[in-house]
């Protein structure tokens, strides 16, 4: 195996990253979002007298905090536009639409939003547009569903203006990737699927890393010499987990331990079960307890846990450099 080519077919898998991006909004953005919930669009007056829309917290020229809110119209003029033939997930439409920079009447800067037309020939810079409001406002920029061609402001259903001011905004983030294992990791993961534990080193006699790394972390050289290790080792250090937490799969107390496989130079984290948690100690000899073969995948979870072998403890000197 050589770095810089694909002599080893690497493993890959979809990786989907999802989280709610939750932020406090402060007084100015908060007022803007509260306004949107009431179907009003607010700007803020800048140091040069311009009305900045959307409202922003600090003056772009002087950096001074801004405070004077100014309501502008829900109608405006397109300053620039671009066509989206194939919308991406999360965008306001799942059919072709336009993005536009729109200068609302009463504003001196432009707001970025979606523009609902079905064909780019319906678009022109300077065209007049109006906001189309979402049915259920929540205090978000998406309370404006989009803009549409038109002069008169579209009628909006009444809103509940007794609600508390908007103080938080939550944006769901959902991104998709292809995660690729390194060549060494690919060999390691394929080994696990066959019940083998494979470490890597840069040269014969060199330090053995388990799992193998993309490069030797001590000198940056490739770790292409892959060696099979036994499923027996020594507990170098450990902790007893007594605290319950979200997502926990084993009832506490249990032991999370660093296990140094025989012949490896770096320990890895796994479970030690099969004895009282209070009996686990540094130097304890342990062996892997594999799950039934039919449950194996490309994962270290193929080893359900480690259990004591009953051998005499390893001498401290044998693992003191691997703590």
């Amino acid at each position: 195996m050589t770095q810089g080519n694909t002599a080893v077919e690497v493993l890959s898998a979809p990786l989907r990253v999802q989280f709610d991006y939750t932020r406090s909004v402060g007084p100015i953005i908060g007022a803007f979002l509260t306004g949107l919930r009431e179907r009003r669009i607010l700007g803020v007056r800048g140091s040069d007298g311009r009305v900045l829309v959307p409202a922003q917290e600090y003056d772009p020229i002087t950096s001074a905090p801004l405070a004077e809110l100014v309501e502008v119209a829900p109608t405006g003029t397109v300053q620039s536009w671009t066509w989206v033939p194939e919308p991406l997930p999360g965008q306001p439409f799942d059919r072709p639409f336009a993005w536009a920079l729109i200068q609302l009447d009463g504003a001196d800067t432009a707001l970025l939003h979606a523009l609902d037309v079905t064909d780019p020939t319906q678009l022109s810079t300077g065209m007049r547009v109006r906001a189309r409001w979402a049915d259920e406002p929540t205090g978000s920029i998406t309370d404006i569903a989009c803009f549409e061609p038109g002069e008169a402001a579209a009628a909006a259903p009444p809103t509940d203006d007794t609600a508390e001011p908007v103080t938080m905004v939550t944006t769901p983030v959902d991104l998709s990737y292809k995660h690729t294992a390194s060549p060494q990791e690919s060999v390691y993961l394929r080994g696990l699927a066959e019940g083998k534990l494979i470490g890597g080193r840069s040269e014969a006699g060199g330090r053995v890393y388990f799992p193998p790394r993309g490069a030797n972390p001590t000198d940056g050289t490739p770790t292409d010499d892959l060696v099979e290790l036994p499923d027996k080792g020594t507990v170098t250090t450990f902790c007893i987990v007594n605290v319950p937490f979200l997502g926990q799969r084993i009832k506490p107390p249990y032991v999370a331990a660093y296990v140094l496989l025989d012949g490896a130079d770096i320990p890895f984290l796994h479970l030690v079960l099969g004895c009282e948690a209070s009996e686990v100690r540094m130097g304890m000899r342990v062996e892997a307890v594999w799950k039934p073969r039919e449950e194996w995948g490309h994962a270290l979870a193929n080893i359900d846990h480690f259990r004591p072998t009953g051998e005499a403890d390893a001498p401290y000197e044998s693992y003191q450099h691997h703590l």
Partner: protein
């Protein structure tokens, strides 16, 4: 203050997709090995390390820490990171050297753009998270708004945009729009890549390199974040950075401009005040290969290489980061005999 020069540059091949991991190790190790061999040094000759990359591009947290494996951090090293194009990591290293805290530095950047299902969607995470990102505008659309603004204002034409891409302009203009008014040739390709530069001070630079590329000016600047609050057809932050870095002398043998969209090269050349005699992007520029978070560093590397090889005496490098040319860096490089 110490004189500081670029003495070495290496980059990974520009490819649409690599086999490697998002921590860049597979692309970086050959770059480092090449620099060590070219300069006759080892890792222990480097006083300071600084990288640029993005966790959002990798789709996982602290991806730059795994990249440190490519260095080999035993014994411990001085290391830092910026979540921007690595040109800004080079700026940090330059400041480190200017302040006398180091005599050599190795700067690197990496990005596996192909890992994302849509790199254009991932770049939405660079936008204002309150009022813009919740709509999920993508990077090509943002550039499209900028391009349209310039076309409508008469600042450039679609022909001039195509001329930046080069080739048969009539044929290019016959192609369909990808995101009206942008065609495929106006948009940098999705590129995986990595790049690395070695900096050194004074006589150490002269030991390592026959013709060091001396950094005689470097500055970076930023425009207001509100996309609709500034004239997108101009880049005042580039003008300010260029004024500080060039001190008014804008004659260059060549300039490497980091313009991921064709019209942005037109904005930049004007903002810097480049003379028509200056060769722009002889490397092909980002429209030929745009390794995210390394492409700006590569502009500096290419501009330096022209001096190191004797092809040029005075060059300019520009890097950008963020949407619609929001943040811009300009560096001036000169040979000793100038």
């Amino acid at each position: 203050m110490p004189e500081i020069a670029v003495v070495g540059f290496a980059h990974a091949p520009h490819v649409p997709e690599t086999f490697g991991t998002t921590n860049g190790v597979e692309m970086l190790v050959p770059c480092f090995q090449q620099l060590y061999a070219d300069l006759g040094i080892t890792k222990s000759d480097i006083d300071f390390w600084c990288s640029g990359s993005s966790d959002f591009l990798a789709g996982r947290a602290f991806s730059f820490i795994s990249a440190v494996d490519a260095i080999g951090a035993v014994p411990p090293i001085n290391e830092s990171h910026v979540e921007m194009d690595a040109a800004w990591a080079l700026y940090e290293a330059w400041v480190k050297l200017l302040s006398g805290q180091a005599e050599t530095a190795l700067v690197y950047g990496f990005g596996k753009s192909s890992a994302a299902e849509s790199i254009q969607q991932v770049l939405t995470m660079q936008l204002d998270p309150y009022l813009v990102a919740p709509l999920w505008p993508d990077a090509v659309s943002i550039a499209g708004l900028q391009a349209r603004a310039g076309l409508d204002a008469g600042r450039w034409t679609e022909q001039e945009m195509a001329a930046v891409a080069g080739g048969d302009i009539e044929a290019l203009l016959a192609a369909p729009y990808v995101a009206d008014p942008l065609r495929a040739h106006d948009i940098a390709p999705v590129t995986d890549g990595a790049a690395a530069i070695v900096l050194a001070v004074g006589d150490r630079a002269r030991e390592l390199c026959e013709r060091p590329a001396w950094i005689t000016g470097m500055a970076h600047n930023i425009d207001a974040q509100a996309l609709g609050g500034r004239d997108l057809t101009r880049s005042p932050s580039t003008t300010r950075a260029a004024a500080a870095a060039t001190r008014g002398d804008t004659t260059f043998d060549l300039a490497e401009l980091h313009a991921p969209f064709s019209h942005q090269q037109l904005i930049l050349a004007e903002a810097i005040g480049l003379s028509p005699d200056t060769r722009v992007n002889p490397s092909g520029g980002p429209l030929a290969g745009n390794p995210m978070f390394a492409a700006g560093l590569e502009r500096i590397g290419n501009a330096a290489t022209a001096i190191i090889s004797g092809d040029a005496n005075r060059t300019l490098a520009h890097a950008t980061s963020g949407p619609a040319l929001q943040q811009n860096l300009v560096a001036v490089l000169e040979s000793e005999d100038r």
